[in-house]
Amino acid sequence: MSQPLLYDLYNKIRQDQHWIAPGMEEYFLLFEVLKSKEYSIRCFDDIAFVLETIWLKSYDQKVKWNKLMEIHREEIFDFAIGLRKEIEDLVEQDRISPSPDKKTKPDNQITNPVTDTDKPEISSEIQAAPNKKPDKPVVTPNIEPDPYGEVGFSFNDSKMNDIQVLELAKESRVPVPLHKSPYLFTDDYFPVKNRQLQQAWRTLKNTQAAGLSNEINFKKTIYETAKKGYFSSFQFEKKRSNQLRLFVFIDQGESMLAMEDFGKELCNTAKQSEFHTALEPYFFKQMPVLDLKKNDYFFTNENSTKQFSLKKLFLKLPRKNISVLIYSDAGALNGYPKLEEKKQTETFIKHLNQVAGYIAWINPAPKFRWTDTNAELIANNLPMFETSRSDIENAITALKGKLTVKNNTYVTV
């Protein structure tokens, strides 16, 4: 069955959740470019460049894109060759320009459909409804280094030599911008994108008027002016600011090694949002350290060089203004219960419930792994969520105190 041109490539990009999926409009953009008489498409690289400009939306995806181009090289060749055939057929049929002389014309150069002004446009069949795949050429197209510096089309079916392979490898290497090095850190592999997290965090606030009345209330000023018929003075009000303090506790236990970065991303995005710019994450390993004498729990900074007491962190803060987010697998990644930890967990949750207004737990392990682990126990007492977008939004709802657990089910307050 015939399928639309470049269907496999387009479909792969659409199905990959980490890409910004091009819509139908973006699919047809390619044909608009081909239709244009002004833009010159002469070789594989030209088509690859057009596809890159219209379908690629981030430099971080460039490495992946180059690999895709390699995988779909043949499909793009098919497309280009079909295109050339189409043009040549039209040229011959319409006899607008002399038919290309195959003996004198080199085979490794695609006909330039645009620089020769007397040539016709590409057929409307290709432009508007790319539902017909062009006939496949008899021989598999291959790439040869062009002596004039451009990669042209070759119908030579011999295998690439070492130099060509090296050239291709060199082409597909993407220089990493300095701010990304020495480690390439993108949000490509996070379950929820940076932007989605930022937007979710924005909703976590409890704004109240506080302090001196030094903010102009324009609405009231205009109302008073209209009432009196003239402007006499500005009306002032107290500044509204967020009273809710967010605390994020991240598990640095061994099982969390691969998951820790997402926890930091949660904090970074919360910091970038409007209301939690001063947020600093606190860390623990499997369980926060309990000091029985002081009846206090202790957390550390990322490098475990400083210790923070929970009592001091919450000092002078009203309980209703404290929201705590815990990011931990709660034993779910190990997949078996630890009886010792079970008791400790129960004690910690009980303590936290007494001192914090709202609590939510984000578990990087999928829900089916929670069964028979401490995660299951916690999820029965605290709102615990997976790392999907909707779950994180629900966790933030819980941090606002609008979602809680009653009889093992989540209830909107």
């Binding site: 608009e32 008489k37 300095l178």
Partner: protein, 330 residues
């Protein structure tokens, strides 16, 4: 209708660019192709790249090439700030002045209405009573100018500085090419600013990737990353300093050394920002100022002369400093 496509060959020398009162601009072939695609498809072009690689100057260069000496009439520059709101690009109303005028009421017939006058051909002007159009609004009006058949060029510079919802707030206006001014009146009716849809402005949008842009916005844009390896450094420097270019190999040596230092910084990752075209131009400007006549000899292994223009942090300085020849930081 044929389109006059950007070729990037107008501002290649100081002599040529002086006619436009701007600096030379030499885009890479790929950047030229990306602009051409944006022109053909009438889509905004999102440009990213290292700071100082020439993102922001592209739009001005396009406008100069396409519109000639009067390009300023068809070039609109919107420098986005962290506090920018999308509406500022459309129009701004001076509420305080209106309030003050209303309060004073010295003249009985004082016009307190927010109005936008029209010119003799019936097009709105960009400034009126208590109202002034923003850069987008002005660009929309420019498309109705009968003197040109080439679209105006709009630069939205550093879009990532604004709030993360800022780009989304512009989508409707960019799609429809029109907007309403609810507060203003034209007789009995409200005012709608419409662009000539056959002359859709060319939008060049730059971003430094400080904040992620929304998918809906990205989908509408074409995207190009200015790869530093594609930048024609030697040609750029020669075009900007033609007198120095006459002086032997000074520019070639300077560019070679610059590339070496850049590579070193990249390898050692000493700085979050590597030296870029703008640093190179500043540095060569100093060489041009002090050594235009007699030239200067230096090697890439040495501590860079006039390093103040090149090395912007202590780690990069330490990377090249040698205790015997340069300043010590130990």
């Amino acid at each position: 209708m044929s389109i006059k496509l950007f070729q990037g060959n107008t501002l290649t020398s100081k002599k040529e660019s002086n006619k436009f009162h701007i600096d030379p601009y030499l885009p890479s072939p790929n950047l030229v192709k990306a602009v051409q695609l944006a022109q053909i498809l009438q889509r905004p072009l999102l440009i990213k790249g290292e700071p100082g690689c020439g993102k922001s100057r592209l739009a001005e260069a396009i406008a100069a090439e396409l519109h000639g000496k009067n390009f300023k009439d068809y070039y609109f520059e919107w420098n986005v700030k962290s506090t920018s709101k999308a509406q500022e690009g459309l129009y701004a109303i001076d509420h305080l002045k209106r309030l003050s005028d209303a309060n004073m009421k010295w003249e009985a017939d004082q016009n307190l209405e927010i109005t936008l006058p029209k010119d003799i051909s019936g097009n709105y002007l960009s400034k009126g009573n208590y109202i002034e159009l923003g850069e987008l609004g002005k660009a929309f009006l420019a498309t109705n100018n009968l003197n040109t058949k080439i679209p105006p060029v709009v630069l939205i510079d550093e879009i990532d500085k604004a709030d993360i919802d800022f780009p989304n707030d512009l989508l409707l206006e960019l799609d429809r090419m029109e907007f309403k001014i609810a507060e203003a009146k034209d007789g009995e009716h409200g005012i709608t600013i419409r662009a000539n849809k056959d002359l859709k402005p060319l939008f060049i949008i730059t971003s430094n990737d400080e904040k992620p842009l929304p998918a809906a916005f990205l989908r509408r844009c074409l995207f190009h990353y200015i790869d530093f390896s594609e930048i024609k450094l030697k040609e750029i420097v020669e075009s900007k300093f033609p007198e120095l270019a006459q002086n032997g190999n000074v520019i070639a040596d300077a560019v070679d050394a610059f590339k070496y230092w850049r590579l070193k910084i990249e390898e050692k990752a000493t700085s979050p920002k590597n030296i870029s075209t703008s640093e190179l131009l500043d540095w060569v400007k100093l060489i041009d100022h002090y050594h235009r006549e007699e030239g200067i000899k230096f090697t890439k292994e040495e501590f860079p002369p006039y390093h103040q223009a090149l090395l912007k942090d202590i780690d990069s300085i330490q990377l090249f400093a040698k205790p015997t020849t340069g300043p010590s930081f130990n």
